[in-house]
């Protein structure tokens, strides 16, 4: 079929560029100490914290992101285009900028910080801060993929359901959601993956303490200080988790 032959050269080049660094990690992995390194207490706590916080932030992304995607895809109002661009901003923003922004919002001296302090809540240096940072950077992934799914699904079935007397909530629950479920699933997986890899906003906003705020990426960064091999071993763990997550995303997409 009509793919120009010469396309293969840059395509292969691109693939090699992405894959070679992964090969390099595997090549540098200290296999003799691998198990011992990845099962140390700090490694286990970091992985557990990462999985726990990423799951929580994915849940929040779904709860807030689904309505956002529906509103963006199914309604039109003035300034919608600008709003969409702004909501997607964390996608292109350097995470450290996100961290600074969150600090000035939820920090002790931030916009909402004093309100929180009065309520006896302290976000700074807590696991909540990690979840906030992850949700901030991951939300656009869910919104983008779900909005895309909603637009390509079209409104035909919704219109039919409505003409048969279904109320908007029923249409949303029985028609819209089932139609875009694969899109929602892959969006959620992407959000989870992005949360798992979150580093910049977390270290800027949440701090770093074993079991509380030191997620796997932060643990890897810290380990490099003293034990480069441990950092490589943990990096490989994160690569494997990422591969598994992408596998899930592929499966949910091919189920369409």
């Amino acid at each position: 079929m009509g793919v120009p032959r010469w396309l293969f050269v840059p395509a292969l080049l691109g693939a090699a560029f992405v894959l070679l660094p992964l090969v390099a990690i595997v090549a540098r992995t200290p296999w003799s100490r691998f198990l011992e390194l990845i099962t140390s207490e700090s490694s286990r706590e970091a992985l557990a914290l990462s999985l726990r916080t990423s799951a929580t932030s994915t849940l929040i992304c779904v709860l807030l992101g689904v309505p956002m995607a529906v509103v963006l895809a199914r309604t039109s109002f003035r300034g919608q285009g600008i709003l969409r661009s702004l909501v997607l901003l964390p996608l292109v923003l350097p995470p450290v900028v996100g961290g600074i922004a969150l600090l000035y919002t939820f920090g002790r001296r931030g916009l909402l910080g004093e309100t929180f302090e009065v309520l006896g809540l302290q976000v700074a240096f807590s696991t909540t801060a990690v979840v906030l940072a992850q949700t901030f950077v991951a939300m656009p992934f869910l919104v983008v993929s779900l909005e895309g799914a909603l637009r390509s699904a079209g409104r035909r079935y919704e219109a039919v359901a409505a003409s048969l007397g279904a109320r908007p909530t029923t249409v949303f629950r029985r028609v819209t959601l089932p139609l875009v479920l694969p899109g929602l699933a892959s969006g959620a997986v992407l959000a989870f993956a992005r949360s798992l890899g979150e580093f910049g906003a977390t270290i800027t906003f949440a701090g770093s303490l074993q079991g509380i705020t030191r997620t796997l990426p932060l643990e890897i960064y810290l380990r490099r200080e003293t034990d480069a091999e441990a950092a490589v071993a943990l990096s490989l763990v994160l690569v494997v988790v990422a591969v598994v997550v992408i596998g899930f995303a592929r499966q949910s997409r091919s189920a369409v």
Binding site: L12, R108, A124
Partner: protein, 258 residues
């Protein structure tokens, strides 16, 4: 096909290197009467002092330009170990310099300065910290460096010497991160170097740590073994050890090396 792609990868890397090629091409630049560049890898805490010294050095040596890589000491050594080109290495502790010496990456190091810890608090000292003993107060947001990095090891030494059981809310990656948390008021107190408190200006205030419990970090400097400009590298090291260099370091809050 395999050969082609390997060749293409090489070409791509070369292309990328050429596109961002500001550093590392000192040899050919020097030949046509342009500038000679030496690269200095230095601990982040030395930033302002070394930049000031570089201006002096460049003024005294016509056609010489100093390029800096300021980072955490262990990052600098790791980069050297992976073959990054440099002419001078200055670290914030002896442990990291020892790693470089053990791998024969550098010549014999010379101690050129020392640094001690100080308590940094937000402007106005909202938590009313007056001594190291106050660092154990209930509900205090204390931020330290992680024990894995030099400033964290020094903080541990202070805790041990003063017999304090410190429970930080965060163990940060670097002094900069600790200062940022204190400066924004997120943390009530942090342990950083004396020089950092001075460099931070109005962002934080300092509370002294008494000499008898303080930790002393010694700063070594050495020329890099594979330097192509060994004479210039040595000249820069000499400048650091000369009165000019020592005065600049003292202005920044460093104490002389023992």
């Amino acid at each position: 096909m395999k050969k082609t792609s390997a060749l293409a990868v090489t070409a791509l890397v070369a292309l990328a290197a050429a596109a961002c090629g500001s550093g590392g091409d000192e040899s050919d630049a020097g030949a046509d009467g342009g500038t000679t560049t030496i690269t200095v890898f230095a601990a982040a805490s030395l930033t302002s002092t070394f930049e000031e010294l570089a201006t002096d050095f460049e003024a005294e040596n016509d056609g010489v330009e100093i390029q800096f890589n300021f980072a955490g000491s262990s990052d600098l050594v790791a980069q050297l170990q992976e073959g990054a080109p440099a002419d001078v290495l200055a670290t914030a502790d002896e442990a990291n310099m020892d790693k470089a010496t053990a791998d024969d990456l550098v010549g014999t190091p010379t101690l050129f300065a020392s640094n001690t810890l100080e308590i940094a608090v937000p402007p106005g000292n909202p938590a009313g910290i007056t001594s190291v003993d106050d660092l154990t107060a209930d509900g205090l947001n204390l931020v330290l460096c992680a024990p894995e990095v030099p400033c964290g090891a020094a903080a541990e030494a202070v805790a041990e010497a003063a017999d304090l059981d410190l429970s930080p809310v965060s163990e940060e990656q670097s002094v900069t991160d600790v200062l940022a948390k204190v400066g924004t008021g997120e943390a009530d107190a942090g342990l950083v170097y004396v020089t950092d408190v001075i460099a931070a200006g109005d962002d934080v205030e300092g509370v002294e740590v008494p000499d008898d419990v303080n930790a002393v970090n010694l700063y070594p400097v050495a020329t890099v073994a594979e330097s192509e400009e060994a004479d210039l590298a040595q000249a820069f090291v000499d400048l650091i050890l000369a009165p000019t260099g020592q005065d600049a370091l003292a202005d920044a809050g460093f104490a002389p090396a023992p």
